[in-house]
Amino acid sequence: MLRAAFLIPLFPFLGFLVLVPFGRRLGNPLAGWLATIMVACSFLTTIVVFAGLFRLAPDHRLYVQTWYSWISVDRFRVNADLLIDPLSMTMAAFVTGVSALIHLYSIGYMEHDEQFAKFFLYMNLFVSSMLILVLSGNFLLTFLGWEGVGVCSYFLISFWFSRPSAASAGKKAMIYNRIGDAGFLVAMFLIFERTGSLEYQTVFARLSHVGTPSLTAIALLLFLGAVGKSAQLPLYPWLADAMEGPTPVSALIHAATMVTAGVYLMCRINPILFRAPDAAHVIAIVGAATALLGATIACAQDDIKKILAYSTISQLGYMFLAAGIGAYTAAIFLMLTHAFYKALLFLGAGSVIHAMNDEQDTKRFGALRRAMPITAVTFLIGWLAIGGVPVLAGFWSKGDVLMNAWKNNSGLYIVGAVTAVLTAYYLGRAYMLTFTGQQRWVEARQSGGPQLHPHDPRWVMSVPLVVLAGLSVVAGLINLPFSHWDLLARWLTPVVGAHMFHPHFTTAQQWYFALADLLFAALGVAVAVSLWRGTAERPAAEPTVLRRAWYIDWAYDRLLARGSTELAEVTALDVETRTIDGAVNGVGALFRSSARVLRKVQTGYVRNYALGLMAGLVLVLAYVVSRTV
């Protein structure tokens, strides 16, 4: 059963290969169904392999499937191989599951789009790359998947490329990603140089031979890659702009899967992080800072997708915080639950946008609860889940992270707590503005524009919403903090257990923490409801500095982008045109002018030439005289 592992990334790739030549012919909706079925098959295969892995004893849950010898140059040997262990299978499971649901959703969402088939082929390629990333057994193959998801992200963000904002958003994403990728590459160079291999198993076995400075460098460089891919400080602005892509793309790539690749990488390299505590510290701090930053910005955004984007940045910050302090299980748990409810929230937002004729401004929504009940309920569940309301998944996963943070550093706990409150608040604000209050869209539309009749979407779009809502409710069960209920922790022990942070809590302490989490959630919900119940205008609650995202992006543009442009202009004009071209042309001009002068020797008169002969004769004779006399 384990041998079927190769099929997991292969199914979506086959879907891609078929859709490239025949997609247009298959058309709407067949192309979409093909893609969805491929991903669903991948999911089923994942379950099968998962079961096969489960059947092995806990200590032996490791299976390496080598496809072929990829690179073999002198000492440098890299195989194309898959590493099937609890961590990779967990990732593969939720990636394929959520992807399948989102593919299904997309059949409905993209139904009016001309490039229907192209969308699905990009999506399939993306899923395939993500699976390679997650299942790979060595750094280089992971990097292949890493780049693959990056490029698919670019394709999908700028899917509607005729929109200049979409095209430049895609570029922006690519560029930020690339900066991180540079870190990943250099880290690979270092790893190979120090350990002589890129295979995970081999590298981790040889870590004891590598000095701490190198390990710290490797960890930080890999973290740089994660920062780029998972939109942490300082490489996060691209995620907000990435909302230019279709909403399913935002849901899949920028909520559930691609951005979690960074967290996955951190968990994968836990042996390295264990040995490089300084790097881990940095990771935790950056994660915490990003969490707070994202949350604050989300409080003042109007565009519903931007709210969710900054929310993603914030939640990813939580995950890095957890990974940084060594609570890998908590990180993975949070990643899993976050995938469910964030995807849910995005798809819900997509339904609203679809119903409101591509309107995205929450200030133009309002009172959609009655018009779109299913969407409203699922969105509510998503909000409460992410807010950390008890019993729902977020309560357990975020609680885990906060508990571990407290034991590591109470400062981190405070940051996390504040962020939790804000999270409940801003998402509540989004819910209130969208689904309650006045029907602001009626007034807005009255001044021109088609009539809107918002309603719940078709079943292809509603079913994923419901499924995800259900998962958001029950997903907490996989890792309850009660003894024998920490299924996920036990499952992941072979991979991360040795280096995990295991603080011990008494039951009383756990209850206190739970109470505190409840308090934070309640506080956020209450403030949101009270502030935004009836009104949509509260400028005091939306300060400009937050609306403009702390002017960070603006600063990047001014300093870096404009600076680079000006540098390029200076180089093009002064260096290239004046100096280099001038020098080159100058050489030519030099020859021309010297030729003009030397030309005067050619008078055309024979007698002048005879003079030249005489002069030569004089010189030769002078030489002879000098030799003999």
Binding site: K600, Q602, G604, R607, A610, L611, M614
Partner: protein
């Protein structure tokens, strides 16, 4: 016997120089030709001087051949001049300057 060889050589040098300067200065083609003959004579004188100095008949044989070749050269050169002058009377050495750079 005759005077020191260096006197002859000096004379030959003077004749040669006069011939060379004349070649450079005169424009009339025929006079230029005559200056060439002057130079040839100076060379002949040198040859004969060295034949005497080195007691080598080869010098005089050389003059013999120089004489022959000079004669042939004059014949052909004057033929060319005649052909040129048919086309354009009053041609001087300065008339060909089309290869001016």
């Amino acid at each position: 016997m005759s005077v020191n060889a260096s006197w002859y050589l000096t004379l030959a040098a003077v004749l040669f120089t006069i011939g060379a300067v004349g070649l450079l200065v005169r424009r009339n083609v025929l006079v230029m030709f005559m200056c060439v003959e002057l130079m040839l004579n100076a060379a002949n004188l040198t040859f004969v001087t060295f034949a005497r100095t080195l007691n080598d008949i080869g010098g005089q044989s050389e003059v013999f051949f120089v004489l022959v070749v000079a004669a042939a050269e004059v014949v052909v050169g004057l033929g060319i001049i005649v052909a040129i002058f048919r086309r354009r009377v009053g041609a001087t050495a300065d008339d060909i300057h089309n290869l001016k750079g």
